[in-house]
Amino acid sequence: MLLRPGFNDIKTILFYSGKIILGLSFTMLIPAIVGLLLGEVNPCLDFVIATAIAFICGILLTESCTRHQELRWMHGMVTVAVSWLAAMTLSAVPLFLSGHFKSFLDACFETMSGFTTTGLTLVQNLDHLSRTHNLWRHLGPFIGGQGITIIALSFLIKGGAGAIKLYIGEGRDEKIVPNVINTSRIIWFISIVYLVIGTTILGIIGITIGMKPLNAFFHGTCVFMAGFDTAGFAPQSQNILYYHSLRYEIVTIFFMLIGAFNFNLHYQVWRGNAKEIFKNIEARVFLISIMFTFFLVAIGLHQLGIYPNALMLFRKGCFQLLSGHTTTGYMTIYARQFITDWGNLALVALIIAMANGGSICSTAGGIKMLRLGIAFKALREDIKKMLLPDSAIVIQKFHHIKDIFLTDNQARGVLTITLLYIALYLGGALAGMLYGYPFLESLFESTSAAANVGLSCGITDAAMPVGLKIIYIIQMWAGRLEFVAAFALIGFFVAAIKGK
């Protein structure tokens, strides 16, 4: 029997959503201040307007829906789902006011793409966009990659049993330390240390390749944030091709890779446990998956002879493949070249890489390496059981930070999420085909949206059908939250209508 949510349930959800919106409003002050310092007054005003709107919404919700009860699982999940939609809408205000988006929906698409670290873009005339707005485009992935609720958990919400429900609702399966608040702070600490290092390195490289110092460091900050957070936004319309630099590409690859690794793994390595990289099931599966998909990409590109020598094939193939596999979406080729130049085999390999994705508890999307590793272990256990006598006890274990025995519950959970991702990829592809796009292109774009990748073969464009924009927004949102929070929101509405 479904229980209809009460008034207090709604107030609890709105209270926590208000807290998260308040956190978001403070982050919008960053581009406002930067805009003021750079003398970009109109863009600065866009952010003052957006900050004020978000602050008013946040304060009204938190003050009028004072908390009456402890956060339950249902509250936590629905709060996360609602907060992400609210964050998308409120963050779209300054982008829409910039005049670089054809509609408010396009601006919403951009912010959802940013927060979910996807990187698909509908911005117009990007090469003339202000630094203030560009900074916000790139801050979005940095906030959303770590987690919108993680900001609130780190700074605005006091500890308690409720925090874990918000944390897990945002698609994070594990904690680094027992306390969720401390876990959130560690995630921020790791990210900010890398931000300083990454911006410095990319800024210096930018100067050496001929960029002006201010531009070099601004681009360095943006490219790092969108690279480490596996988003794939760039300050210029040519994406990483703009820089025409192997050095820039190599450093970007490095940050994409570390961004796709589990924060827990980073923490272990920082604590001196470097061996964990070699033992960890995620790192191993990641390596195997990269090697397998790159092998296919290389064969596909070699068959078509697009790149005259192996070095060029490696540079272009490797960059696009790693960008897809880490779910970043940075490109050093033009979107249409995937269709006109790459051929079916390389394209299918890239789709597989995008679908697989990065690590859990990272900023990457997709099915994720731990799930693939567990699914493989479960399959091996089943095959062993068939081959061994009935009396034999088969035990599978895997190493992820510690040795873990594989249970049926774990395997079932992993397979459910994996199936949901596959259904989301195929569902989006079907929608694309219904709008008249070819199968492979539809599957490529759908997988890119649902796995939060951001590589595009050209479908994502301001001129694409409104329905498809909405479908991609839903795919990005559901994929980033790993379904649970999205289903909780649907369940909440069903219970509100049908419950007793």
Binding site: L45, I59, H128
Partner: protein
């Protein structure tokens, strides 16, 4: 007289050469070049657009990126040929409009497989300008109104909370 005839003939031949150069270099858009890269690979093309972003010097050459309104394509040009470029497109400025005549590469062997154009000649068609966006008074009014409203609501709730205590 003989010298004059030679000069006229030389000038005529130069004109014919330059015209033939221009005639053979087909004027193309970025979309045509990207979508039909195989067809135009290694051919002389003419591509026109706005210079955007940085001019990135690399030795005696430099990279400029030229946007024709749909896509931007990287152009590899000698430093001498881009001397006349003053403005580069950004938030603050409208870049110079230039016409590039050069060899198009679908995957350039010299530049790691990039799709690019190696410029033989760059002609400035229009000079860009500094963009001075006027202050938007509607935005100023709205920002002020919303900021005051936000502050007012916050103070009101603080006051209510104090009274309750």
């Amino acid at each position: 007289m003989k010298q004059l005839v030679i000069r006229i003939l030389s000038a005529g031949l130069l004109c014919v050469y330059l015209l033939s150069e221009l005639t053979f270099a087909e004027t193309l858009s970025s979309t045509q070049l990207i979508n039909n890269a195989k067809e135009y690979d290694g051919q002389k093309v003419t591509y026109t657009g706005e210079v955007i972003g940085d001019t990135m010097a690399r030795g005696a050459y430099a990279w400029i990126n030229i946007n024709d309104g749909v896509n931007a394509i990287g152009v590899w040009a000698s430093k001498d040929s881009i001397k006349e470029i003053i403005y580069r497109g950004s938030y603050e400025s409208q870049g110079d409009i230039v016409e590039t005549i050069g060899i198009f590469h679908r995957s350039c062997a010299e530049h790691g497989g990039d799709l690019d154009i190696h410029a033989e000649r760059i002609l400035k068609k229009n000079t860009g300008r500094i963009l001075r966006e006027p202050l938007d008074t509607r935005k100023i009014n709205l920002a002020f109104l919303l900021a005051v409203l936000a502050l007012g609501i916050w103070l009101l709730f603080r006051l209510i909370a104090r009274l309750r205590r």
